[in-house]
Symmetry: D2
Subunit: 312 residues, 4 copies
């Protein structure tokens, strides 16, 4: 109870403070749909394992979750192909920019982890399996709606199309992996699914809800069943901690101390294992591509609540 | 109480099992002193925050802690120069071998983190400050003896000399950083201190004792005072989690789920924040240079005790 | 006259000797059409600036000229866009494998020279300009037939199709350059033209004829007009010397001492400035992808005739 | 005769023109001795194979030849250890800055060619052999005085000392190669000799004289004997062409078309095989570290005289 009160106070204070900030970073500009987003927005939502939902600011404004979607496709892929997934994608931090192709060449087309672009494309290929892109997208969408208990979640087709038209670098990565036999499906099929799941549009509330299973030892708290085993949930959290923020993953672990995943749309999802799931959103990015105010909000929340996984 | 019993049982079982294993990996061979170590050894020691010490196997056999010492010099350096340390060393995982010089060239001589060799050499330069190597080594030794409550800990001069004679690659790293102004002292002074603190000889018991402050929010549990602030303790733990095992850091996070630091002598130190500190040792290494049986023992212990920081 | 006699003798001896060699290297195997070529073939043809044609061995057997075609498209592109070509492709040796993508990332998508794959693709984009692929291929074919005074030269459509089906790595390079704005046309158009001009099928005789202008200060010796200025001919020769043999360019300069260009089909074209043009062919390749016997034949011919550009 | 007249006219015009230029580039600044050199100087000297010496501008002002000395130590090393030298140094262009350590790591400590710093240090180690640094330096000095027929050539001890004090990056390279067993002698011995031969002080006249053997098929034109075989002379010329100007080697081949070697002191030595040797000097450097006016003077001289090795 006391904790809920402290949480409500913390979220309210953070939301109020962030609404006034002027140093917001620049929004992503590589596609017009993201470039147009108003930077003066900030949302936050926390869902505790005992079911309390605490929201603040623009928690109900939908935004493009972009790379945050990689956590859900990783979860799906592990369910579909199990640990054989790790034959085609590693789980080590990359020490490079999210879209670097250098590492791929040095390591024979095997991406370092599932959260750099190349790795997420390889994961998407595994999710695709022998199915058609349309079916696969349907499955991804159903999965996320189920996780969030919310049928209103959709994919923004305009964003997906825009990504496709500007996705030459991802096409380079995909072709490179295809050349090394790391992906099996036709490059344009894999990229089609990839660009579409990155174009998922969600609110902070929906995102925090969808992340609950990772805070709950893999269980869907309302449906009751296991989405993944508790061991797999821990492992997904571990990968988020070491690789979830591109070349700022060490920094996020250092400052916030929670497993998390960011996207260039300005969203960040984080997990307090055994306690809560969190989503924050603010479109302005720092120099490595993570939400500037979002990262700061996470740091402050984790500190106030004593939630760091690295100690009291 | 029940927990203590479970811990004692787990440690005993692990020690018994590891004593019988034959797939031990190869001991480090780049200096004769390490190459001569008998691979058929395994030690483990856990110290809980409530003061219980549980040891198994060769927990009282001294070994060369090598890179594990980097955690202690990092702690010292942060105490001496504070967060200005981060101007000359980063805190991102490297995505490269522990002794790579490529990253240094791409990033103007600034090492990615304090646990790759270059970073630990830069940290050693900060600890050295304006003092003489001999004084500095005395300070490091006093610090570790204090942390472990054990005056018997020493530096193996033969190992230190052997490292110096074979340390051309580290000399390359140090000269490269000196060329970029990242280290200030004479290269041979810095390397002298570095090779000597890596030559610290400790038992699992001593190492687990020395690590207690990181499990205790920065406090020395018997002396009572703060070694570092709780925030700094969390941050050191965070860096261990993301960077503590060279290019196997992601794997250790994935499998074990605890902040830890390994050394080529076969030792691994790990922290269960708020609960316990652990040291294991077995000289045979896996292909990225971490103790093979040591890593497995850590994985098993964390699983049995439910100690992963990534969830229940 | 005496020179002609010496040349005839040299060519005959080399052809006879190479016919008996058993250490021929392995033929390229990445597409079935190249993998099927009989390795026991060797052809050579020299055309002197005074019009003498000296052929030996399988000089009239057609083969896939592959990367040798890059010299002709470079010549065409310089004619079409002039020195502005150098804004999108460099002229420095690469120090990397022919199909490396690492350099592209480090240098913002600008390939180091026109003879690595990425550079040749960028050159092809310049040749394409605002035309359709079919027209452009027609123009390339007419150009080469004109240079060789031979209307029988064709493109092998089966090879071109096979390259297209296996060209994921080149597609990665092209998409990467497109992402950096280094190529303007649709990736599949550029690659279509690229794969087709690499599939040109020529004999040693035809190739040596087509290369005459580079030995003649840029002039077409029978048509009489200038194909390129003498300065441009020198410069194309210079690029062949420094970059013409992938990561074996230094070796070819060191051993042979002539500007040349090799292809994975086993052909090598070389220029003796002011004196002669040469083509050799033998399908077996050395470890960096250049014709093994072809390189040796070039070395011997240059030595016997005193043709090295680096001194008597 | 006519040629001599044309040469005298060309040299005079170039010297006059360069004296008036204001866009001279910046002098090297990493050691005070080089930083202090007056940029408003330009010297040129050509020695033809028939013995004509044509000088212009500041042809008799001594300057620090720096990396140009690498040609002489390469020649010496080949005389001492023959082609076994190529086991520890390659002969391919590097595609990297002159002092890059990245390539060394990727290729196990073997430098790409004898003209990048690492390669020249490995060559110096070979020249050192089992001798003392002082003896070896004496031998190098005697060799160059003999080549130039000039006993007045000396080493600038102040420059050598200054290089030593600032040579951390070269110390990094040397230690790295020592770690890989590519150099045998003590690192400080090798660097001592290296820094001293780079500190040779010569005039354009002396340098052009010293280079004569490379234009004369390896023969010392006045002493009459062979310094190296004609084949070795050609090969040294070939390496100068492909690797003589750091990451501007392709550009020099493209623009000038002569084998040459530059130094950060602003000197360039070039060879017209079978015809002449050339030295130019102007202290201001372009962005890759080659003499700005020196390169332009070479281009103009080669064009005027029709001396490019790549054609008429």
């Amino acid at each position: 109870m006391e904790d809920h009160a402290r949480l409500e106070e913390a979220v309210a204070e953070i939301a109020a403070d962030m609404a006034q900030r002027t140093d917001r970073g620049a929004v992503a500009s590589y596609i017009p749909e993201l470039a147009r987003v108003d930077p003066n927005q900030f949302g936050i939502c926390v869902v505790t394992n005992d079911g309390k939902v605490v929201a603040g600011g623009d928690a109900d404004v939908p935004f493009s979750i972009q790379s945050v979607s990689k956590v859900f496709t990783l979860t799906l892929a592990l369910g579909l192909v199990g640990d054989t997934l790790w034959k085609r994608v590693g789980r080590e931090p990359s020490g490079n920019a999210f879209n670097s192709i250098v590492q791929l060449e040095h390591e024979n087309g095997v991406p370092r982890n599932p959260f750099i672009n190349a790795g997420a494309i390889a994961v998407t290929d595994a999710v695709l399996g022998h199915h058609q892109p349309r079916e696969t997208l349907g499955e991804i969408l159903r999965f996320i709606r189920h996780l969030a208990d919310d049928e209103a979640i959709t994919i923004d087709q305009t964003v997906a199309r825009s990504e496709t038209e500007n996705g030459f670098r991802n096409a380079a990565l995909a072709n490179f992996m295809r050349a090394h036999g790391v992906i099996d499906n036709a490059v344009d099929h894999v990229l089609g699914v990839y660009f579409h799941h990155c174009a998922l549009t969600m609110t902070c509330r929906q995102l925090a809800m969808a992340a609950r299973f990772l805070a709950n030892g893999g269980r869907h708290p309302t449906a009751g069943h296991s989405v993944v085993s508790s061991e797999r949930a821990r492992r997904i959290n571990a990968i988020m901690l070491t690789c979830g923020h591109y070349d700022g993953s060490g920094e996020f672990a250092f400052r916030v101390g929670l497993p998390g995943k960011s996207g260039v749309g300005g969203g960040i999802m984080a997990i307090v294992p055994g306690k809560a799931s969190i989503a924050v959103w603010s479109p302005g990015l720092d120099k490595v591509g993570n939400s500037r105010l979002g990262s700061q909000a996470m740091e402050r929340l984790a500190k106030t609540m004593g939630w760091s996984i690295f100690g009291p």
